[in-house]
Amino acid sequence: MSAGVHIIAAPGDIPAPHIEYGQLAPMLIVFGVAVLGVLVEALAGRPWRYRIQVPLAFAGLLAAFVWTIVLAWRHEPFHVAAMGALGVDGPTLFLQGTILVLALVSLLLIAERSAAHFTAQASALPGSEAEQQSMSAGITQTEIFPLMMFAVGGMLMFPASNDLLTMFVALEVLSLPLYLLCGLARRRRLLSQEAAVKYFLLGAFSSAFFLYGAALLYGYAGSVRLSDISAQAGQGAGGETLLLAGIALLSVGLLFKLGAVPFHMWKPDVYQGAPTPITALMASCTLVSAFGALLRVYYVGFETLRWDWRPAMWGVAIITMVVGAVVAITQTDIKRMLAYSSIAHAGFLLTGVVATSRQGLSGTLFYLAAYGFTTIGAFAVVTMVRDAGGEAAHLSRWAGLGRRSPVIAGVFAFFLLAMAGIPLTSGFTGKFAVFSAAVDGGATPLVVVGVLASAIAAFFYVRVIVVMFFSDPEADGPSVVVSPATATAVALGLTVTVVLGVLPQPVLDLAGTAASQMFVR
């Protein structure tokens, strides 16, 4: 951040920006691996691609994660990088680390070969001869790996973006690959493609909102830097309309990404249609990333305007919790139910945002990490329960699973209880952390709605448990396919859910330290 000045620009020259490569290495590694992955697709022979892509992706994510830890370990990170475009600070590193770990676990699901989740050839029309051929040729789609890496790179950048333009670029980088990935399911391809189109159209729409909001804010503040916007708003410079309209439009774009009501319509369809490993990736990593960006925008950019946006955020949090919990009750598809549960959880997380305090920030960080693992574990279990037509997604097909394979059903029940927030699971610790921050921030009514919504939510979690354990199994019910990679993902999710429930102190400390200086501006 010091050196930009050194370069004295000759007339007509473009000054080269100063980039702190070391500080940004995690993102760069992931993007680099993504580019390498594209090259592998272009140059390596088909039989080799899977064998190269998977280790490459794992190595990339792992290296990025290790680098993130080193960055956080070496010195108190609290500065901006890349000419002020990206922030490197405690919360960002925590979020990036969380995203990377969750992406690693999702990668276990995505790389699963014994139960193929992805279509052999995306361009082949469903039901066509070309599809038959590609299936019988035993082709596996390996483009998913570079696509996923691009998405993860975008997710790492999204919460780090210190200005609205970078944030928009990150938003697009993370979204576009996801739109594609959603359409690649091997079974029920039409549903999957419909999901992809829906996600793309609505996502493009919300991006436009985001961009329009950014433009209005630029018009107001004369800068897209969050700190400049904050400073201008603090001075009470004129153009209140521009400012508020800008905040509103920008918020629409952000709230869409995390699926807050009333911008949640895409979530159930997309979660249901997308290949389940991709759903797991979206439900965990994208949520973490979107919340990271939301936190940064509201805690840095609009911090001085707290009294303007808080009432609106109250409203959004309340209807998100209530709608998510209530509509989930009527769902009969497991993935749709988990989608609505994810909406409800977005609402619980928003109570932490409303708190606008250090505690609120650290609570939200902890909650994101805890929920990410639980939800990946739950989706991993969903991929295991299969019948002839692929995953047995309908709730009625899960009847009696507890008798057929008690361990898997028990684990799933545990994940559901964690989502319901029963003590001694990570869900309780997380909820407690955000709710206590919200009460501390004077949002007690919001917390009352929150606990009532979580009691309603518990209703449908318990309903699934009842179906699994207390219903008689169907004769031709689904079987549980246990394969090593998926089982590892489930085991990891379970371990973290238990540990964060019983011994949450180290991670709470970590989140607390990460949040101690709040965001850099």
Partner: protein, 501 residues
Amino acid sequence: MILLVTLAVPLAGALLLLLPGARFLPGDAAVRRYGVAVSGVTLLLALVTAAVFDHGEPHRMQQGVDWAWAPAIDLRFHLGVDGVSLPLVVLTALLTFLCFVHMVRHPPSGGPARLLTALVLVLEVGMLGTFLALDLLLFFVFFEVVLIPMYVVIALWGGAGRRAAAYKFILYTLLGSGVLLVGLLLVAVNAGTLDMVALAERHGGGLSRGVQITAFVLIGLGLAVKVPMWPLHTWLPDAHTEAPTVGSVLLAGVLLKMGTYGFVRIALPVAPEGAQVWAPWLGLLAVIGIVYGALACLAQRDLKRLIAYSSVGHMGFVLLGIATLTPVGVNAALFGNIAHGLITGLLFFLAGAVKERYGTGDLAALGGGMLTSAPRLAAFLTFASVASLGLPGLAGFWGEMLALLGAYRPDGGLPRETFVTFMAVGALGAVLTAAYFLRLLARVTHGPVAEDRRDAVLPAPTSSEYAAWVPLVILTLLVGLWPKLLLDLTTAPVRTLLGGG
């Protein structure tokens, strides 16, 4: 440290059952004996706790354990026992032990014995922990630990309508504990501590009147679901009726007390001003509960359902005692807790025995003349009913009498006329209680044996049934004849909790 062991033994017992059944304790009979052994050790530990308890200073927290668990969210592993919790701890350990003894010969059908044993042991951990916890968050954790095992016990081993009953149970209680959590959070955030002892010593100091009023209503609502207070009681009849005998005994005997204990331990001392404001309403709902419970009992046709509704009435007396905010009333409430645990535990054991022998709990189908056809069972049933209706000399009398006495002279800040009215209505409820129990006895134990049952031979109570019933009978008599035993324990700590010095 002994408290820690008391909790650790059932927990370890439950965890050991996770070992594969082929190697560790194969066969149901072995598992049942194991359950008796583990709960027996726990009971012994509870008795040792009572023995080493310094009866000279019952208001002081004894045998304390205080470790940091998760300092970031202020969760401490803080346990202790005083005169208020000691009787409840012993009652819990005793009832759990008796349940296991009962199950040796009368196992409920529905699921594997291994699972049931493990669940009841986890249940015991949660119940004991609730009474021992001295940290608000730890209290809440234990309070919740109880839910899932009890839910599964009802849902797997229950009667015909078990699914709906289990559902209702868990939804009501989850909703209640959610509200309770908000109340606890509100207190914790405003007072800056979760330590129940420190909060009780402050008597609301540091909490503004508004916060106290809100906190009391939130905590109170959360606990009232568990008690249950009218009109939040509707989960109770279904859950008690459908649950297997063990489930009903523990539900009525211990789980309901977690609610009233919470009132005495948390709600009253932490938010005294809030208590002053809400006490008349609490009293009103308590009295409605007394009368409603009694009237509902008069209309019941099923034995277990009748006992379940009688709990609503009895817990109404306990709540009335609490609502007076006087040492007399609160002592009465704590006494009523124990008495109800002993008597209703016994009643549910007996109802289970009746159902087992007659195959039905329907009063009309039972006919009459049990004293002729099953004299011993009928004798026990008569004793338990008479104890439950509050005959002087038995345990049920003191709790109700003292609660009414407390209502006659409520705390100075409370409207006396209102409470005297409550007392009068409550006394009417006591009369109605007598009426329905006598009606029950008249219909079931007395009269001629029904034609179709005349030749049926009903098995005499087995040794394990006697083993489960007799201790409860003895304790009912003991506590009834010598109430000082309990009152000595509770009087001093109640004074401390109420701030009387």
